[in-house]
């Protein structure tokens, strides 16, 4: 499987052999044993060293808890690649929430840092600000809309 972690893509291969499973990570072979403890909970043994870790899959996303840290990895598939390309486009909602103010309209000139709209979630207001000077090309949200990350709310020319 190909796991995406930040900018890195790591190739992890599991091969079933007569003597058990063999794992390579970017070509490096590792000797370890994994046992399932319960749903989402596992142990990993390497020689005497044993540790509990936690791991669940949600679609293409792998959530991993390892030595006190949470990692969110994506399994690289066509779907996930498409989602990646999508990022970095227009201005998206920073989190799911409700639009409580729209401060700009198409054609407005904005300066870097200006508030474009305000999204409320979990009782906190969060401003979506202009990342650069520019002119508003389109506004796709109205006050009261429930919005989610990944949805472009404002496009700048």
């Amino acid at each position: 499987m190909r796991l995406v972690c930040g900018d890195e893509t790591i190739v992890v291969e599991v091969r079933e052999t007569a003597g058990g499973s063999e794992v390579t990570v970017n070509g490096q072979a590792l000797r370890l044993h994994v046992d399932t403890v319960g749903p989402g909970e596992f142990t990993c043994r390497q020689a005497e060293h044993v540790e509990t870790f936690h791991c669940v899959r949600e679609g293409d996303v792998v959530h991993l808890f390892w030595r006190g840290r949470v990692y969110r990895l994506e399994e690289e598939t066509e779907t996930s690649r498409a989602a990646h390309r999508h990022a970095g486009g227009g201005l998206e909602a920073p989190m799911p929430g409700k639009v409580i103010a729209v401060k700009v309209a198409p054609g407005d000139t904005v300066a870097k840092g200006d508030e474009l709209l305000v999204v409320e979630a979990m009782k906190m207001e969060n401003a979506v600000r202009a990342p650069r000077d520019g002119r508003v090309k389109s506004v796709a949200a109205r006050v009261g809309d429930m919005v989610s990350p990944g949805v472009v709310l404002v496009e700048l020319e």
Binding site: V25, R69, P96
Partner: protein, 498 residues
């Protein structure tokens, strides 16, 4: 005979779960309430009954006095516990509950109004000789008046909703030109959270500590304190880490602070459990900030060191029993620390991070307490506060409780939503925190950015791949034609993968 027959818990999340536990231990039946978004929430499962009270939007459910009273009537409750947040400090709610012939587990309406109006509270405290922060607490709420007063007080200035608490709607303004937009935002948040947008202005003290005194009073005017808590670790005016005793206070200072807390409670004609918040200046001066007329989020640290159950005491006072507790009988032992685990993304401006809890494994062990509002499978929605759980540790000394917390945070497993776990770890591990050198700007000074999580080490990736790709060695598989979500063979067992 128990104090009440049935308590309606007019709240959600961890505090509703926690209140239900004490009720159960006291032999009191409980009824939960839930909005449409919370039909599957943990708090609606741990009570004996659960009543739907409306749509997800808080204003039409957890903030609806009518819906809550209707629920109380429907289940035949004889008392209402408001928790914290929502209507807990709303005098009209307290009055409406009393008017319906039920006991309100908290102060009566006039006490809420007296202290909930920060303007009036400031004036009352000043009159009672309790020091207050220089500021503006006038009734003239025109934007122009507030702007003028802010300039008079001198920058930086703190904008505070006159109602409410928990840091919501608060804004620090460092320059005149930021004032009006901040005021508008503060008013909107205050209106949404508390239904009232009156504002108080105060000078922003430099590097103060937040210390607060837990008080408890009965209807006959008996009042005691349960010592202080320090809550200086804050982010956006929301407390993140709290502890008791405060590492900043010597014996005399502690006595003076706690005495001021009791004096404040007396001046307020306070009844039931409450908290008097102060700012502690680096010089050692302390100033009254506000009084919270309800149980605090961070009340468990006080419970850990005093051995008292604050919800039980609240219920007893509300049932009319005189306070059996004298000041001398209240002592503390050791040190307790609380970390608030929230669905907030510390790598993305602490933005809320809703989602489903796919896997939950709270830390366990001696000296560790987990007050949680979630279970595996819970949905964390955008509608409510992002607090997931409070992790509390106790130790014979501050060093011990902090070490225990550091260790417990490394065993706190929440998968599915991004949480502030790594920030909590960074705080508790920070040398300045270890030395107790705290102030309300601690996070801005020491922990603005959190390093990005690196890629997992190769063995972790290998282990994850094995965990996810393995096929079970010992399994019967589900019985064909009978999909069984609870078949242990589907979910358990010794899947040997390596």
């Amino acid at each position: 005979m128990p104090a009440f027959q049935k308590v309606l818990i007019a709240n959600r999340g961890e505090i509703a779960v926690r209140v239900a536990r004490t009720c159960r231990a006291m032999g009191i039946a409980t009824a939960a309430v839930y909005s449409e978004a919370d039909a599957h929430a943990l708090h609606a499962r741990v009570a004996d009954e659960a009543v739907p009270i409306g749509p997800a939007e808080a204003a039409r459910s957890y903030l609806s006095i009518d819906a809550l009273l209707a629920a109380a009537r429907r289940v035949g409750a004889d008392a209402v516990h408001p928790g914290y947040g929502f209507l807990s400090q709303n005098g009209d709610f307290a009055d409406a509950v009393a008017g319906a012939g039920l006991a309100f587990i908290g102060p009566p309406g006039d006490v809420h109004r007296r202290m909930g109006d920060k303007k009036g509270a400031r004036r009352l405290m000043a009159a009672a000789g309790v020091p207050v922060v220089p500021g503006y607490d006038g009734d003239d709420q025109a934007d122009a008046t507030l702007a003028r007063e802010a300039a008079r007080i001198g920058w930086p200035v703190m904008i505070k909703p006159s109602r409410g608490g928990g840091g919501k709607g608060m804004r620090a303004v460092r320059a005149e030109k930021e004032f009006l937009p901040a005021l508008a935002a503060a008013r909107r948040e205050a209106r949404s959270a508390f239904g009232d947008d009156a504002i108080v202005l105060e000078r922003l003290l430099e590097r103060p500590r937040h210390v607060e005194v837990q008080v408890l009073a009965d209807a006959s005017g008996q009042a005691v304190h349960l010592f202080e808590r320090e809550c200086s670790i804050q982010r956006r005016h929301q407390k993140v880490v709290e502890e008791t005793p405060s590492p900043a206070l010597g014996g005399d200072q502690r006595r003076a602070l706690c005495a001021a807390g009791v004096a404040a409670a007396r001046a307020a004609s306070y009844v039931n459990a409450g908290t008097v918040e102060f700012l502690l200046d680096p010089s050692g001066e302390f100033y009254f900030l506000e009084m919270n007329t309800r149980l605090q989020v961070e009340h468990p640290v006080t419970e850990c060191v005093t051995g008292l159950d604050l919800v039980r005491l609240q219920i007893e006072v509300a049932s009319g029993v005189p306070l059996g507790l004298t000041q001398d009988a209240i002592t503390t032992r050791g040190h307790a620390l609380e970390c608030r685990l929230s669905a907030e993304d510390p790598w993305n401006a602490d933005l809320p991070s809703p989602g489903r809890i796919l896997h939950l494994a709270p830390p366990e062990g001696p000296g560790i307490r987990w007050d949680g509002g979630i279970a595996t499978g819970s949905d964390v929605t955008v509608h409510y506060d992002p607090l997931l759980a409070k992790l509390v540790t106790w130790g014979a000394s501050r060093d011990e409780s902090v070490a225990r917390m550091a260790e417990a945070l490394r065993r706190t497993v929440v998968l599915g939503v991004v949480t502030n776990l790594e920030r909590l770890q960074a705080i508790v591990d920070h040398p300045a925190f270890r030395r107790g050198l705290l102030h309300t700007g601690f996070l801005d000074e020491h922990l603005t950015g959190l390093p990005r999580v690196p890629c997992p080490p190769p063995e972790a990736l290998a282990a994850a791949a094995l965990a996810l790709s393995g096929t079970p060695e010992i399994t019967g598989g589900p019985t064909p034609g009978r999909p069984s979500p609870s078949d242990p063979w589907q979910t358990l067992g010794a899947w040997r993968l390596g």
